[in-house]
């Protein structure tokens, strides 16, 4: 799941970046391509997945994820870019971060710093 989580995480950031820089209005269309991965991750998390934080926490996290999925569905039905971006970037991506190793973020940060240096 880690590899898929990483792919989805990068996908979410890529389409957000693409939308902000290129302003072509293709966010919804591009986000639709990520939905199978979102569904797979959500299915796993709501089923066997978990962080071992205790029943109460796990239940709250699962309930929150269900809310995010509901927003994604609504955003796709309404064609709502704001709600979809918020649900993916501020919702799903935050879950994914919990499953990605620290080393992954350190690597990303290093690449970013290199780019800044030119």
């Amino acid at each position: 799941m880690e590899e898929k989580a990483q792919r989805l995480y990068e996908g979410i950031h890529y389409i957000g970046f693409y939308d902000a820089y290129y302003r072509e209005g293709r966010y919804l269309e591009q986000a639709k391509g990520l939905i199978p991965l979102v569904e797979e991750f959500a299915g796993w998390f709501l089923g066997e997945g978990g962080l071992g934080l205790g029943e109460e926490w796990e239940a709250a996290l699962k309930e929150n994820l269900v809310g995010i999925l509901r927003d994604i569905r609504q955003a796709l039905e309404e064609g709502d870019r704001v709600l979809l971006m918020d649900a993916l970037e501020q919702g799903v991506a935050e879950y994914l971060e919990m499953f990605l190793p620290e080393s992954y973020f350190e690597e990303r940060e290093a690449v970013h710093v290199e780019k800044q240096k030119g």
Partner: protein, 619 residues
């Protein structure tokens, strides 16, 4: 009782835009009902009030439910660096996070224009946002559809001034296009029009760069012996119609009809229309010319030499030499020309030119006080897939493929193909007519019998217009004969001495540029020291400013500036760039300054040689 948030906001806005509170109160019911957009409020996960819009059967958020400000942060960052003095256009208020981000990311010189296309959103935000706290003393203007949208054009024109245009940034808040796309497009169209008209101005400048100075110094002796266009006011009777004859393709349809108008109207032609008119035996009362590259053969015809001519001083020199009749000049802002009038205690009148020969002729007719102005051959479109009337550039103009051209509403056809420059001139006419009609009672009649519709004109056939309006006999030629040159013999002598001194004056400018270059070298040296002496730096800057002021004060400077227009444009826009340190800024300033001074020196050298061969030899 404490004031509500809405009252506080309205009170603050009313101080900035007097009368806005009253307009909001008066119009709110109608606008809220008429827009058909429901704006709801809900709380985000963070507890912030966010807006949701119900429109066209859809429900759309204006800010995220989890992190309302996140998208604003990313999108404003994606705009890249926003230069000082840049105009930033924000379409939509949303939750004000975009505005907050723009203000946070920029300095106080940046001008933010917020356009809210939906009154219902603005009205809802009045009850939530803290406008005073968010905007404070920053340069920000607010346009709200239904409240003050009529100010859009004026505000955009005031903000999008020349050098700022390349710096502008714009951002439409997400989801807005889903429920008010047309209004957003109209807003961007206004911005596009201004930017394009600046581009047209710049391109015209660039197009004539190579010939402008040469034409100018060659032609300016004609100003000494010529006439002011302003002398025509009162001399030419304006109780008959003015007929503006242009060379659009439709001119061939009704040119013969114009014979009946001769001596019953003031016939003013665009240069390209002169030959077709003469071929029909019609001698216009006057013609206009402004193009620095206009080929002589367009007017070279028996009978054209003596027709009074309204002309720009940097118009094609071959045409001015060929023409032996009375030449009328207007003030184009050249200090060199204005100095000729000033030294004799006179002034030359300004006239909006508009960029084309037809706009110049039209502007003159309006300023001469005509109450009926009739357009003929003013197609501003490619009627019949031709650019001009037959008998102008060619005996039979070629038909071109216009299938991919933009189309606009036609006078007689539903749509006609047009070109970018034609369409810009059409817009110029429309704006001029709109503003002129507010002040004067004038009938604008479009008797083109083809071409693009010009808002503000009545469509009529030329026959109808002549039958109805050209009823009085008039001898315009006689009126021209009575006019005396703008300068007396004595005044002309004084100007002649001024002409002869011109190469010397231009040389002074070159010497100042050399001095300026040295100052910039010192500035560079100063900034390259590890430990910069700020006092010395500021002292050099003061001398640089004085030097530039002296260069710019030279009456020949505008000719130099026009000749180096492209480089000047880059330098003027880059004056707004900001750097991290004073040293860095100083070094960049020195680099650009040296280049600029070098250009001035080189250009002054060329102009000096031109002046020696032209004005300096004037007799």
């Amino acid at each position: 009782m404490s004031k509500s948030r809405r009252d506080e906001n309205l009170e603050w806005l009313d101080r900035k835009y007097p009368g806005i509170r009253k307009r909001v109160e008066e119009r709110k019911e109608g606008l809220l009902r008429g827009e058909g957009i429901e704006v709801e409020e809900e709380l985000s996960v963070e507890g912030e009030a966010i807006l949701k819009v119900r429109a066209k059967g859809r429900e759309l958020y204006l800010a995220g439910r989890r992190s309302p400000a996140a998208s604003a942060r990313n999108q404003v960052a994606a705009l890249g660096g926003i230069m000082g003095n840049a105009p930033v256009f924000l379409v939509g208020m949303g939750n004000l996070h975009y505005l907050e981000e723009v203000l946070r990311a920029t300095d106080e010189s940046v001008i933010v224009i917020i356009y809210e296309p939906v009154f219902s959103i603005f009205y809802r935000q009045l009850g939530i946002a803290d406008l005073k706290g968010t905007i404070g003393g920053r340069k920000a203007a607010l346009i709200v559809e239904g409240i003050n949208e009529e100010e859009t054009k004026g505000l955009l024109r005031a903000t999008l001034v020349k050098e700022r245009i390349p710096l502008m940034k714009n951002l439409t808040l997400p989801n807005y296009a889903e429920f008010c796309a047309e209004k957003i497009l109209a807003f961007y169209q206004e911005i596009d029009d201004i930017a394009k008209s600046y581009l047209t101005f710049l391109n015209t400048r660039l197009r004539f760069i190579s010939v402008a100075a040469d034409n100018f110094y060659h032609n300016v002796p004609y100003v000494r012996t010529g006439y002011r266009a302003g002398q025509l006011a009162g001399a030419v009777p304006n109780d008959v119609p003015a007929i503006l004859v242009s060379a659009g393709p439709s001119l061939n349809k009704n040119i013969r009809e114009l014979r009946r108008a001769k001596n019953h109207a003031f016939l003013i032609a665009a240069d390209t229309a002169v030959k077709p008119l003469l071929r029909e035996g019609i001698v216009p009362d006057m013609y206009a010319m402004l193009d620095g590259k206009k080929p002589l053969n367009l007017v070279e015809a028996e009978g054209s030499k003596k027709i009074p001519l309204v002309v720009l001083v940097n118009g094609a020199k071959a045409i001015l030499d060929y023409h032996t009749g009375k030449k009328f000049f207007i003030n184009e802002g050249y200090s060199y020309v204005n100095e000729m009038f000033k030294m004799n205690g006179e002034t030359l009148e300004y006239l909006p030119v508009g960029g084309s020969v037809a706009t110049l002729a039209f502007s003159l007719a309006c300023h001469l006080g005509f109450k009926d102005i009739i357009f003929v051959g003013q197609d501003l479109a490619l009627t019949g897939n031709k650019t001009h009337a037959d008998g102008t550039f060619k005996e039979k103009m070629d038909e071109i493929d216009t299938s991919k051209y933009k189309t606009v509403p036609g006078n007689y056809e539903k749509e006609v193909p047009t070109r970018g420059d034609f369409d810009n001139y059409r817009k110029w006419f429309e704006e001029f007519i709109e503003s002129w009609s507010k002040r004067y009672d004038v009938r604008f009649i479009n008797a083109t019998e083809g071409g693009a519709k010009i808002a503000g004109t009545e469509i009529m056939t030329l026959k109808e217009a002549i039958d109805g309006l050209c009823t009085k006999e008039v001898d315009i030629g006689r009126c021209f004969e009575k006019l005396e040159p703008a300068f007396s013999g004595e005044e002309q002598e004084k100007i002649l001495r001024y002409f002869h001194d011109t190469p010397k004056e231009i040389h002074k400018m070159a010497a100042l540029a050399e001095e300026g270059e040295k100052l910039y070298q010192r500035l560079d040296k100063q900034c390259s020291h590890g430990n910069m002496d700020r006092k010395a730096y500021l002292k050099i800057l003061t001398r640089v400013k004085k030097n530039r002021k002296r260069i710019e004060g030279n009456p020949n400077y505008q000719l130099v500036s026009e000749t180096i227009a492209r480089a000047e444009q880059i330098i003027q826009s880059s004056q707004f760039f900001r750097y991290d340190s004073m040293e860095e800024e100083g070094k960049e300033l020195a680099r650009q300054g040296k280049l600029y001074m070098d250009l001035i020196r080189e250009c002054a050298g060329i102009l000096e040689r031109i002046a020696e061969e032209t004005v300096a030899k004037a007799k």
